[in-house]
């Protein structure tokens, strides 16, 4: 953050004019042929808004396919003007795009659209999340041999791991758009859940049952293993803990197990 920013400075006026087409052209501009500077300023306005729309289109590819390029462009332009990036790293731009779409009335006929944007933003963050080595083989199975201790342990997951829980079938809808073939019609009026993770270099969106989503979500939030497994069994009678664990191990997203911390001592197994 730059501490001393004068909101009335010439750059403040210039920045405001770039984002708001109704603003007056900044004063003090000069052109060699005395042509109207507004036409030239428009190049900067277009560069700013178009490049940021393009950045959003890179992240929200299926959201864009669902509404079509023209609708997306209009919607994204409004978002860009109201929510210019607060980061210089465009891979992180758009964390509030889903919330914006949620309140964007022309998209109200597609209530699953913000859910799709949430899924796509999660994918982008998973793609660029920090690398982490999976837990050594055998550590988890050794821990499983001591259920009393395991119940109190906390799981450290790969930084890419995220949970998606949607009242709409956005996971199926997203998967249907990962092909150049004709998109089959997708029945969207039912809830779906997925986990998003990076396995080696590939970002995966894996549909999961309610119990698995609950277990991963709770342990990601820091809940101990035993309590998270119990919560998962409560929301989903068919929750299969060992199948869930082996699926997560197969994708290499378990990084370490932490014994419950005492006042100044905690053990880590990795």
């Amino acid at each position: 953050m730059n501490g001393a920013v004068d909101r009335s400075s010439k750059q403040a006026q210039f920045a405001a004019a770039l984002l708001d087409p109704t603003q007056a052209c900044p004063v003090g501009l000069r052109t060699w042929n005395d042509s109207d500077p507004v036409r030239r300023l428009a190049v900067y306005c277009n560069n700013v808004v178009s490049s940021l729309i393009a950045a959003l289109a890179d992240t929200f590819t299926v959201t864009r396919l669902l509404v079509g390029p023209d609708f997306f462009r209009a919607m994204a332009a409004l978002f860009v003007r109201q929510n210019p990036p607060r980061t210089r790293i465009l891979a992180h731009y758009g964390d509030d795009f889903a919330a914006f779409i949620d309140g964007f009335s022309p998209a109200a006929a597609m209530p699953y659209l913000p859910e799709m944007a949430r899924l796509e933003f999660a994918r982008m963050q998973a793609c660029h999340a920090a690398d982490a080595e999976p837990i050594a083989a055998g550590v988890l199975s050794a821990a499983l041999g001591n259920p009393d201790e395991l119940a109190g342990m906390r799981f450290e997951w790969h930084p890419s791991l995220r949970v998606i829980e949607s009242p709409y079938a956005v996971v199926t809808l997203w998967a249907a758009h990962q092909t150049d073939d004709e998109i089959p019609s997708v029945q969207v009026d039912h809830a779906e859940r997925a986990i998003v993770l990076r396995d080696a270099l590939d970002v995966l969106v894996l549909p999961v049952a309610a119990g698995t989503a609950c277990f991963v979500g709770r342990t990601l939030a820091g809940m101990a293993f035993g309590a998270a497994a119990a919560a998962a069994a409560e929301v989903d009678a068919s929750f299969d803990l060992s199948a869930t664990l082996s699926m997560l191990m197969r994708h290499g997203v378990l990084v370490s197990l932490r014994a419950p911390s005492t006042s100044c001592n905690s053990r880590t197994f990795s």
Partner: protein
């Protein structure tokens, strides 16, 4: 790597041949084919992420090629000082990848905490000159290197400007000791947009401080008076007028590290390499002729 090590790496400068921008869609082909190219350039901000495929591939490609790190988000011409968190991110990239060059723009792109993702123009007056020099001093001190500053493409000028762009650049270079990234396309674009002669512009620049040249395509528009307005788009092949201007720079300077920039409508790797080969042939032809001596890269 420590900052001292990074300085050693940078002082060598880029190899005096042609390079291209490294694009994710070409990562695997680059590793498989290992094209004959002198260096790759990346935008620093694209690699300011924690992990994943971008770092995986850049690390592997860096094992085989020299790297130019080109920033687009430092906002050297901004009202406020360079963002320290952004400098920290740059320092981490420089430690990790040991680029042969770090460059940034004579422009601003942030206001407060808002990032506008464009290279916006500055007035060429004494107050701005002092401010830009302070910002570059801070960057060079924090990163422990001599950076290159790129001349901008601009579409408007400011009534309060009191000096020409080459005079402003010359003075920044003299006061800060930074080098020049000469974007030949920007020279052509800005001179066209402001009714100036590019040959005169180039003669006013301190060309002996050039550490790298950029070449890119531009788009054509018209201003309110119907005069040509060229837009620095990086989305097409290099124009013949820019090639001619580049040839005159090479004749004057000798072989110089030259980047073919393409950021939109990126074509096949082979097409990019073809453009780089054209630059390389101009550089090679020049090697056989006497030239002005120039020092570049090192401080």
């Amino acid at each position: 790597m420590n900052a001292g090590g990074a300085r050693v790496g940078l002082s060598a400068g880029l190899p005096a041949g042609s390079g291209i921008g490294l694009k994710p869609q070409h990562f695997q082909e680059v590793l498989a084919v290992r094209p004959e190219i002198c260096f790759f350039e990346v935008h620093a901000e694209n690699y300011m992420v924690d992990g994943g495929p971008l770092h995986h591939y850049l690390g592997r490609i860096r094992e085989h090629y020299a790297l130019s790190l080109h920033g687009v988000g430092l906002s050297l011409g901004g009202d406020g000082p360079p963002d320290e968190a952004h400098l920290d991110r740059l320092a981490r990239l420089i430690d990790r990848y040991e680029p042969a060059s770090f460059s940034e723009h004579l422009a601003w792109s942030t206001h407060g905490d808002m990032f506008l993702n464009d290279l916006l123009p500055v007035a060429y007056d004494e107050a701005t000159l002092a401010q830009v020099c302070r910002h570059i001093d801070r960057v060079q001190e924090r990163l422990g290197l001599r950076m290159l500053l790129e001349n901008p493409s601009t579409y408007v000028e400011f009534e309060r400007s009191t000096m020409s762009e080459p005079t402003f650049l010359r003075e920044v270079l003299r006061r800060t000791g930074c080098g020049l990234l000469l974007d030949v396309t920007n020279v052509h674009v800005s001179c066209t947009n402001h009714g100036r002669d590019p040959g005169t512009y180039l003669r006013e620049l301190p060309l002996d401080a050039v550490g790298e040249v950029h070449l890119a395509g531009f788009a054509r528009d018209a201003d309110g008076a119907g005069d040509p307005l060229l837009i620095d788009s990086h989305g097409s092949a290099v124009d013949e007028a820019v090639w001619a201007l580049y040839a005159s720079v090479v004749t004057r300077l000798g072989a110089v590290p030259t980047l073919l920039e393409r950021d939109h409508d990126v074509p096949s790797l082979a097409t990019l390499l073809g453009e780089a080969a054209r630059a390389q042939s101009l550089l090679a032809r020049d090697r056989e002729q006497p030239r002005l001596s120039s020092h570049r890269g090192g401080a």
